[in-house]
Amino acid sequence: MKSVNAVSTTLPGLGVARPTFASVAESELDAVHRYLLFLTGNRAVAEDLTGETFEKAFRSWRRFDPRRGTPRAWLCRIARSVALDHFRSEDRRRRREERYARDVEASEEPGLGEGVIASALHELSPAEREVVALRVLLDLDGPSTARLLGISQTACSTRLSRALKRLEERMSDARV
């Protein structure tokens, strides 16, 4: 994890270093984008949601408490909430379209690129891609990830293991 304390202030009377928003945004932008890219599987959507996430974080920055977790975990929580809102609205939109224009097909943009790994990732569910992103790409620890996902650490490890195993199987199938 990159250092985020290059530019920081100290909370009055508590001695806890509090980074500035700009430094956090600079250092965590890629991580949040990566997380949303894996979660949504769509590069354009991930880009929009990342921007939305940082706008939301900007508005609620004063509520961030460094004693309760890392900036990355805090941003990922906001990103997850933003993504769930997006999924909800997409879900509603899809139902509306199914009701009134059944022949309309959603165009899927390849968000994770081309290649074996990308197609294998697309076969995973968003929840599996999410845990892979958080644990493998963003290097969040088990407890933080479990808290973020609202599940137990055991369930988190199980989900990660299952996702990686499925990825491995798909990749080996694709290579054969």
């Binding site: 700009a22 990342t50 900007f58 994770l112 990308a118 929840a127 493998v136 790409l137 990686l164 491995e168």
Partner: protein
Amino acid sequence: MPASEAFDFEREFEDVVRELRAVPSEAPPTLRERVRALGEPERRRSFRLPKISWRGAALVLVPACLLALVSAAAVHGLLSSSSSNREVAASRTTPRDQLLEHGSNSSRGAVRGAPVFAPNSTLELAPVIPTPSPVRHQDYQADLRIRVKDFDALGQKTAQAMRVTQQLGGYVSSVSQSSTSGQPGESDLVLRVPVAHVQDAMIRLSALGTVLEQHVSIVDLENVVQQQRRRIETLRLQIARLTAALEQAGLAPDVKLRLQFQLDDARRNLANVTGANKATLREAALSRISLSLTTQKPVAAKHHSGRFGNAASDALDFLAGAGAVALAALIILSPLLVIAALAYWGVRTYRRREAQRLLGTA
């Protein structure tokens, strides 16, 4: 399948992890510029309290509330005990003064609800006896309950009360005495004593034993007497006029008959009013004293354990009251709390399931 924190995916899925990390996922420059443009949020200058967790707040607030409650109870106990002490002191020092005061005030008008002495409060004290006004007509009634030592004393004191009444120019209106074995002896007397001697009578009757209760009622009758006298004068005048009219010669028979009826009516009224006036004056002249003598033992007095004991008792009463209020509030609020908890739990569960469905984990 490993399902613990010790799960080392880096080693177990080394190839997959390596390929995953090679997926291009950096934020595009346009997005980076957009985020950079946000800048730094304005720092609020207002003073903010440090954030405290629920557990920390509970650890501080619960003992603080308990301490405040106990302190309030202690203060209440101390204040109550000191005020009750003052009341006791006042009751011990002023009866004689009150006696004089009542004596001087009684001429102003009616006195109702005169002092009532609780049992054991007058053991060493002379009772407070309001005195009737010597210049006004008043209905004076008193109830006196006195404890005597035993059955022998009951008979002696009853006879003594009758003697006192006669010595003061009054009479015994009624007397009844009961002495049943195993039960307290009772003697009830209704005494009529001239108002002029009622104060003396009350003092002498109070000396028969220990005063347990005393009720005195003084009702001013002066207005009633004055009204009756004016009515008598009017009626006498009317009778005189009617008599003179009847003695005139040459009255028509019907007029004479009518005047005669009026005269008879006036005489009847005069007799009635005169009788009522005499009764009122008799009532004002003789006081009515209901005297009860009893051998009943005193009710166990409240244990006085000094100021500290009283304060502690009052403080405990205060705490018990606060506990009762808290319990009542809890009983009233508990359904609402349960509903709120269920609503919170329901919303949370719904959102979690919805998230699971949206992310494909349901």
